[in-house]
């Protein structure tokens, strides 16, 4: 624990801290551009110069390890003069275009220039101009503004794991770029926009849209994957203009996937803003009362076993509970929230990411079973990569070959390899057994198949054989792709006694034994199998479900309601209303509450607080917001024969997985750019 003196104040910091961090811990701000605590140290912007005793020159505090007996001055004349000098050099080539720069108002350079900038320029030569680069549909570049801090380069190389950015040329001619122009192929590229301390990298879809001080900020969670990244939703009037990540060390650190950040323009497209009723085969606009009457006419008097409900991937726990209560009241047990048909068990340990995301930092061996975390949960994949960079980490995968940005041993493609491992017939089991903190990550690609329950049982057997679950460590994990899934399982949105699951509901609808199907934001099912059933679709986008529906009830998207979501770890988090639902659309639980009245089974809650009370009654864990309640290690899955055939990863195109991202023009542009990159690759690789 080195002890040093900063501005006359004695500070003790942990070994390995830099002088800059020591200053920060003492509450003294040191201006800096290139330093970022989650990136490698570069020390090239020189803005953080401080005076240090026994050093003839000012030192770059970000690259200087704190040591015993150092005497640092951050506000001395020397330090101030040094910073002013650095700032003058930085501004030599930086354009004076703040009024038309999207970074304006939240720009580090602008802020520091206010403090250390000179009121006139002494540089008489021409400023240099740098050609803008094309980084793809997400990042807009204005490379003349670049101050060469290399944060983006370090982020791409280290965190995102795609070595595509670099600094080419030297001196006056140095440029940041890909050298050969191509779109960045990272699912985390949007974070470079946040990292860029100037306006060189800005958001392309958000270009010239708003100034930061015009925006209303709402803290919420992302639901476009099952990670539950913490986000801040920036809105102006009725429109969500941008989404930024919010710090949560145990979930997303300070990163956010590109889908969660950029798919938001889909919230203004293809929205359902009024109820519809199918008349003579055509969906026609209707009033709420008409829609409810149409539903009541169909449901009243119908036997409960002929009614079914399917919950979608983006649905909040409150509305799922309301639908469950309603359908239970009607006597139906045909409920399912597992649209993809994954054979997820009722036992918690069998559907949670038990290790927790932060737990990945301790893991030393991981086996991926039928999952491609890079596409299913890029933030979790980044956490694995972070662990890999720390060293002493081994990864293997069962499934088609993968590029996870860190080395992965491919053990095989199908369940037979899993069986071999569990039976000890595969040598890699020794690696798993020898690990201190082993992890098994089972994806939906392994569970959403006919033999899913058997595969899950096999994975359980392997976990036992390899001792993956031990005192104080649960290395068994299920990685979800849908934000609603764990919430649905936690409140029991699964078939009750004698009830049908998704496949059963679709079969029943086809054969006529199910007459009414209630789709709560469920768009990922095969709607052609719904047969002649009367379909009620409640959701926010005109996607597959609404197209098939007989009655459409317009609901709220995740940015338009207060809702509870449970991420893949089992962490309960609250999403908050940032804007109001468009037109006549309403918050989902309210729709269900209103509908329950004409159906004669009035739900017993009139406001969100009462509904949340009911939620806690159903499952007390909903009371523990932002906590992960560990699950007991019990038996789950159903031992049995496994089928042949390789696992198929659930996500092929990261950019389009749900109604919001499918409606987003930005995500469409990303998809196109991805296709172009892929075809180019096959072109040159033969």
């Amino acid at each position: 624990m080195p002890k040093l003196t900063i501005n006359g104040q004695e500070v003790e910091v942990p070994a390995g801290t830099t002088v800059l961090q020591a200053c920060q811990s003492a509450g003294i701000e040191v201006p800096h551009f290139c330093f970022h605590e989650r990136l490698a140290i570069a020390g090239n912007c020189r803005m953080c110069l401080v005076e240090m005793e026994k050093s003839p020159k000012p030192v770059a505090s970000c690259a200087m390890p704190a040591a015993d007996g150092q005497v640092v001055k951050t506000d001395s004349a020397m330090a101030q003069r040094a910073r002013k000098g650095v700032m003058e050099f930085l501004l030599i080539n930086h354009p004076l275009d703040c009024p038309i720069c999207d970074q304006g108002g939240e720009c580090d350079l602008q802020d520091e220039a206010m403090a250390f900038g000179f009121d006139r320029g002494r540089f008489q030569e021409n400023k240099r101009a740098v050609k803008d680069k094309n980084f793809g549909p997400l990042i807009k570049t204005q490379m003349t503004r670049c101050i060469h801090c290399t944060r983006c380069v370090r982020f791409a190389t280290d965190v995102a794991g795609v070595s595509e950015l670099g600094a080419t040329g030297r001196g006056e001619n140095m440029e940041i770029g890909t050298y050969i122009e191509h779109a960045l192929t990272s699912e985390l590229s949007g974070n470079m926009i946040d990292l860029c301390p100037v306006g060189a990298l800005t958001s392309k879809p958000y270009a010239f849209v708003a100034r930061p001080w015009e925006l209303r900020k709402t803290e919420s969670v992302d639901v476009l994957d099952a990670v539950g990244a913490n986000i801040r939703i920036d809105t102006r009037g009725p429109e969500v203009l941008r989404v930024l990540p919010r710090l949560h060390e145990d979930v997303n650190e300070e990163w956010l996937g590109d889908k969660g950040r950029f798919a938001i323009d889909g919230l203004m497209k293809r929205r359902l803003d009024k109820p519809y009723v199918r008349v003579d085969g055509k969906l026609t606009p209707a009033s709420w009362a008409e829609a409810f009457t149409a539903i009541a006419a169909r449901i009243k008097g119908l036997d409960g076993s002929k009614i079914a409900g399917i919950a979608g991937d983006l649905v909040d726990a409150e509305s799922m509970l309301a639908l469950k209560d309603l359908l239970t009241g009607l006597g139906s047990t045909n409920l399912d929230c597992r649209q993809d048909g994954a054979k997820l068990p009722a036992e918690r340990a069998g559907y949670l990411f038990n290790t927790t995301i932060a737990g990945i930092d301790q893991a030393d061996v991981v086996l991926f079973v039928g999952t491609n975390p890079r596409l299913e949960a890029p933030l979790i994949n980044a956490r694995f990569r972070k662990r890999y960079l720390m060293g002493g980490f081994k990864a293997a995968a069962i499934g088609p070959s993968l590029d996870l940005t860190f080395p992965v041993v491919q053990l095989g493609e199908g369940p037979e390899v899993l069986a071999d491992l569990a039976d000890g017939n595969h040598t890699w089991i020794e690696t798993l057994k020898g690990a201190k903190h082993p992890m098994i990550v089972v994806g939906q690609g392994a569970l959403a198949r006919e033999d899913g329950a058997a595969v899950l049982a096999l994975a359980h057997r392997l976990a036992d054989a390899a001792g993956v679950v031990r005192d104080g460590w649960n290395g068994f994990n299920v990685l979800h792709t849908a934000a609603a899934r764990v919430g649905g399982l936690e409140l029991g949105f699964v078939p009750g006694a004698g009830g049908r699951d998704v496949a059963g509901i679709l079969d029943g609808a086809g054969s006529g034994s199910i007459e009414v199907v209630y789709l709560l934001g469920a768009d990922e099912i095969d709607t052609s199998k719904l047969g002649k059933a009367f379909v009620i679709y409640q959701g926010h986008h005109g996607d597959a479900g609404a197209a098939r529906a007989d009655v459409v009830l317009p609901g709220a998207a995740y940015t338009e309601k207060n809702g509870t979501y449970v991420n893949t770890e089992g962490r309960v988090q609250l999403g908050r209303l940032a804007t109001f639902p468009p037109g006549e659309a309403r918050e989902d639980w309210k729709i269900l509450r209103a509908l329950s009245d004409p159906l004669g089974h009035k739900l017993p809650y009139d406001n969100l607080a009462q509904l949340r009370q009911r939620l806690i009654e159903v499952n007390p864990r909903f009371a523990h917001v932002d906590e992960v309640v560990p699950a007991d290690w019990v038996a789950f899955g159903a031992a049995g024969p496994t089928g042949a055939g390789p696992f198929v990863y659930p996500i092929e195109n990261y950019y389009m997985t749900d109604p919001v991202s499918r409606s987003s023009p930005t995500m469409a542009a990303c998809t196109e750019s991805l296709r172009a990159t892929v075809s180019q690759k096959t072109g040159t690789n033969g």
Binding site: L165, G166, G169, G177, Y179
Partner: protein
Amino acid sequence: MSGEHDDVVVEQPKSFEFTAENLERAKAIIAKYPAGRQASAVLPLLYIAQKQHQNWVPRAAMDYIGGLLDMAPIRVYEVATFYTMFNLKPVGTYFLQVCRTTSCWLRGSDEVTETCKRKLGIDLGGTTPDGKFTLVEVECLGACVNAPVLQLHDDLYEDLNVELTEKLLDSLAKGIVPPKGSMIDRQTSAPVGGPETLTTLRFDGDGNAA
């Protein structure tokens, strides 16, 4: 030369591979570094590639070296564009580098450059239309005693002036490469006209004092 990213528009060969002999050399260089640190060999390998490929490094060669050293291509581009000694676009058969640093400049490097420009009809950084000559200015070539000097590939031509530069260029235009070293009657870097000190010393054939 480097730093200009217009080499991207240059017509690039589709593929590049070391010759068997050069691959051997490359492997010997890679073996000098500990396992996992093979990227350290990137500079000598780029140099070998430039030697092999008409004195310039095509993009295919950078990609090839990246593959050989297990480096991302951008990391090789960074190195190749940083060092001015790597040519990233085609250069003439005779690549002339005129030194312009203090000693040479004081001794008339400006005239040497002007002579080259005038005779060849090209500007700095340019290549003659017949593809024979490329002219660039460089910083100190480390032969200050015999300033001004001009480097042609691996060899220096020293003690130049307008006439001698013209003579050199005429000779090269005919395809004759004159003997390297001082262009006037001077023994290596000894004073012009012969040694002025230690004149009583005699040396035998092996350089030992007799």
